[in-house]
């Protein structure tokens, strides 16, 4: 079994290291050591995307081991996964990296953001996913001014994803109130395959 030590590595380095190792050691089990829970969530999510199994073992508050293994004998390469993730051309994602839209007056920007999200809930075609990073991460946590709208979007099948490093930076890890955590590696991947709306 191949072992990867990603302790001390900032998001999304553990995911990148693991993805690379999976490519080089196709079919082999991998044991990845990381120092935070968000990294384990990112690794589990990546394993799921690659149709692999992930088992998380918490050794201590600052050490986690994630065992990534494949159930079947079939080998999965990242190229094959990319192929399965072709999306219909009309599918789009919405990316929010601020809690206020546009430059100028910030209060107006926050009003515009609320209007934007409300209008989004009434679109005939909803986005496939919504990504939140930097101050956008303030929108998916408790006390978010748009929490109800985001929950309504999630109920209708919109996947809400917030950047893990941002949640950690703002000290909001325990306050996430809608959707899940993702990493920059996945954000770049999604932005490259979907039509991206960034208000």
């Amino acid at each position: 079994m191949k072992k990867i030590d990603a302790v001390g590595q900032a998001c999304p380095i553990p995911t990148i290291m693991t993805k690379r190792a999976l490519k080089e050691h196709t079919g082999e089990d991998l044991l990845v050591s990381v120092d935070n829970e968000i990294a384990t969530q990112n690794l589990s999510k990546m394993a799921e995307q690659l149709k692999l199994q992930a088992h998380v073992n918490k050794i201590s508050a600052e050490l986690y081991e994630v065992l990534i293994s494949s159930d079947s004998k079939e080998t999965v390469s990242t190229e094959e996964t990319a192929k399965t993730e072709r999306v219909p051309s009309q599918d789009y994602i919405v990316v929010l990296h601020t809690d206020s839209i546009g430059s100028g007056n910030e209060e107006l920007g926050r009003t515009l953001l609320k209007s934007f999200i409300f209008s989004l809930t009434e679109q005939e075609k909803l986005p496939a996913k919504m990504l939140f990073y930097n101050a956008g991460a303030l929108l998916t946590v408790e006390d978010s001014p748009i929490l109800d709208d985001l929950k309504a979007l999630e109920e209708q099948g919109v996947e809400i994803l917030t950047c893990g490093i941002c949640v950690e930076f703002y000290g909001l890890k325990d306050k996430l109130a809608v959707g899940g955590i993702t990493n920059m590696y996945r954000i770049v991947e999604l932005e490259s395959i979907y039509k991206t709306v960034m208000p």
């Binding site: 009003t111 209008s119 009434e122 005939e124």
Partner: protein, 89 residues
Amino acid sequence: MNRKHYGVITFPTSQAAAAAEAQVKAAGYECRLIPMPEQISAGCGLVLQVSVEQTLDIQKQLRDRQISLEGSYEVWFENRKKFVQKMEG
């Protein structure tokens, strides 16, 4: 708030809508500011979203308080398509 069927009250300006929001909230009604439905006006102001059952009551109370408003509308969705109709009151 029912997302598929609600009322909106429109005002001469977005600032007037924001002022009315504070009063309507203080009176104990559920409400929020949302963008002007394009079926009502092409302008991009804000309007007050309220429960459809309470729309005309709220409109009357605002008029009684001399708050200038333009009118009330019923908004509903069928197959994700939006419909808007003027409410008389």
